[in-house]
């Protein structure tokens, strides 16, 4: 066989495959499950084909856990010193920070690997892209329960949001937050302002709250025990949500998992979607989400 040279070509080294200089791969990131950084990076590599289209041109907020879950953690919006050249940057004046922020855009695989290597376990994204940063392309209902309500109660509320949207001819997408709640998202056509979609979400919340005693539509009641808050306030400039397929810093290494509405039945447990159970082989329920951009009543 004229094999040797060819065979060596088939076993490339890590540096042939990625420009990212990987470090501390044995660092334990999820101590409860003894999951190392290597497993975290491998997870994001596997999820990249689903994540990258969604993340494209969407300013990121990193939530970093350099010491692993349970250790020190911090949010980072600004590209840190030493950010490599393959990472795209979007510079913008941020009102919240009162200065120019150099946002990271995860526009390629190496950037995603680089983020994972920084132990940025959680990736949070804005509801608009750099194409029209001031105009949202997603409407978000962030549905969160207060104990002792169960996840079944959250499912009921998410379903009524879904049904009401459907009645209005609007298609919506659902994912777990990766923690206690559910996110319902509507992809929007161009030109909306954040105030408009915030008002729409607020109206919807108020309407559901009128018929469902456990649902609250106003922020001051959002932490009342035994209630579910339909958070419309996330629909604002610079606010973020956990990206689809982002890991969450929980003991169980849960994932903010996109779902089909059929999957969302009583007895569903969000913790079943975690770093070890997310299968890249199955269909992506959010696939083609931006092919269904819609209009809502202003």
């Amino acid at each position: 066989m004229a094999g040797n040279a060819g065979r060596e070509g088939n076993t490339p080294s890590l540096s042939d495959l990625t420009r990212v200089h990987l470090t501390n791969l044995d660092k334990v990131i999820f101590p409860a499950l003894h999951i190392t950084k290597q497993e975290v990076i491998t997870y994001y590599i596997k999820m990249a084909p689903r994540m990258l289209p969604f993340l494209h041109n969407r300013p990121l907020t990193m939530h970093r856990y350099p010491g692993g879950v349970g250790g020190e953690d911090f949010y980072e919006k600004d590209a840190p010193q030493g950010t490599p050249a393959y990472v795209d940057i979007f510079t913008r004046f941020a009102k919240t920070a009162d200065r120019e922020v150099h946002f990271i855009l995860c526009n390629n695989l190496d950037t995603l690997i680089w983020l994972a290597n920084l132990a940025s376990l959680e990736l949070h994204v804005t509801l608009s892209t750099t194409v029209a940063y001031d105009s949202p392309d997603l409407l978000l209902f962030d549905i969160d329960p207060e104990p002792p309500l169960s996840f079944d109660d959250v499912i009921d509320v998410a379903r009524s949001v879904h049904e009401r949207l459907e009645d209005a001819g609007i298609q919506s997408y659902v994912k777990t937050s990766g923690k206690k709640g559910l996110h319902v998202a509507v992809p929007l056509s161009a030109g909306y302002r954040f105030e408009e979609i915030r008002a729409f979400a607020h109206q919807m919340g108020k309407s559901i709250a009128r018929n469902t005693p456990s649902v609250v539509a106003e922020f001051p009641h959002s932490r009342d025990p035994g209630t579910i808050f339909i958070d419309y306030l996330q629909n604002a400039h610079g606010k973020t949500m956990a990206a689809p397929y982002s890991l969450r810093a929980t003991d169980g290494a849960t994932v903010s998992a996109p779902l089909s509405w059929d999957q969302l039945k009583h007895g569903f447990r969000p913790e079943n979607f975690n770093i070890r159970t997310m299968l890249s082989g199955s269909e992506d329920p959010w696939r083609g989400i931006f092919d269904t951009r819609q209009t809502i009543r202003r």
Partner: protein, 331 residues
């Protein structure tokens, strides 16, 4: 793949040093002392013989227990103290065995150049001379630079006399003792006094009580508590009251606000949700384990690789990377 030879724990062992493989002798010296010297210094418990044999990797393991402490169950080694538990006129002869073993290890300081261990000397701060033990006395600093001086005999005179007795003064509910005061536990083993010992164990257990009293160990008298644990008696020395800071020393803690009813309800609910059993075996000492693995690797002559993964270890990552690159390229 790049490897970084610089992670060496033994300074002086540089990559490219070929003497390491020249002879078994040279290799042993290399690993432990850095450069071939007249006397290879070996860690306790490892003979030069073992280190030199290349094809005996499994023998190169650091002993799991300090050499002076047998590891086997059932034979817990020599007693640390023997005497008797005294309750009024009743004596129960017992032997005291150590119960906790500090697994943390210490490194020795070596001279980087020749790899030889360093020692500490008693150096006079005035003239810089090394002073032999015989020429030392003990001093208690009363004011800066001013000492009350003691000859060894003077201190001996006031040392508490060890009368080989654990004097029990009272019986208390064990749960009424706060662990803040607990210092070191010891196992009490009957010294040909099984019957009396067993009687004490059973009686304490039935009543849920522990015995408190005093013991004199070496030069110090300690308050102690004796309680039933795992079917035997355990003696724990206690700290003296003035060795523990009271939380009342902090002003904020004396005037804490009263929590709101609803918040308290929520907090309690969270606590109840997170309630569970606690097992210390869930908390291994990962640093200790990692360093022990490093030591074993060094002894086996392996280069310590850091930063970049072993090809074998990163296999799954590499495979995922190749697949994802192919998927993205196909789009």
């Amino acid at each position: 793949m790049k490897t970084h030879g610089g992670a060496s724990l033994t300074p002086g062992r540089q990559s490219g040093d070929k003497t390491a493989h020249r002879s078994p002798q040279g290799r042993a010296k290399k690993i432990v002392a850095g450069v071939p010297g007249p006397e290879p210094v070996l860690p306790t418990g490892i003979s030069g013989e073992q280190v030199t044999k290349k094809d005996q990797p499994k023998t190169l393991v650091i002993p799991e227990h300090p050499p002076d402490e047998p590891a086997q169950k059932g034979n817990a080694g020599r007693p640390f103290w023997s005497g008797s538990i005294t309750i009024g006129l009743v004596n129960v002869p017992v032997r005291l065995h150590t119960m906790v073993r500090d697994r943390s290890f210490s490194f020795r300081l070596l001279h980087r150049e020749d790899g030889q261990p360093l020692r500490y000397d008693r150096v006079c701060t005035k003239d810089g001379r090394v002073i032999p033990w015989a020429d030392t006395v003990k001093g208690y600093e009363v004011r800066k630079g001013e000492y009350v001086v003691f000859e060894p005999d003077e201190l001996k005179a006031v040392m508490p006399e060890s009368d080989r007795k654990i004097r029990i003064e009272k019986f208390v509910y064990y749960l009424s003792l706060d662990p803040t005061y607990f210092e070191t536990p010891y196992i009490l083993v009957p010294d040909r006094s099984e019957e009396a010992y067993s009687l004490l164990v059973t009686a304490l257990q039935d009543l849920g009580r522990a015995a408190v009293g005093t013991i004199t160990l070496r030069t110090k008298e300690y308050p102690v508590v004796v309680h039933v644990y795992g079917g035997g008696l355990v003696l724990t020395t206690l700290r003296h009251a003035d060795e523990v800071t009271s939380p009342h020393a902090f002003e904020q803690l004396t005037s804490l606000p009263v929590p709101k009813g609803s918040e308290l309800m929520l907090a309690k609910r969270i606590i109840n949700e997170l309630s569970g059993d606690f097992s210390l075996t869930d908390y291994p000492d990962r640093y200790q384990e990692a360093v022990m693995r490093l030591i074993e690797k060094k002894l086996a002559g392996e280069k310590i690789v850091h930063e970049e993964p072993h090809p074998e270890e990163a296999k799954e990552l590499m495979q995922a990377l190749e697949e994802t690159i192919a998927t993205l390229a196909g789009k």
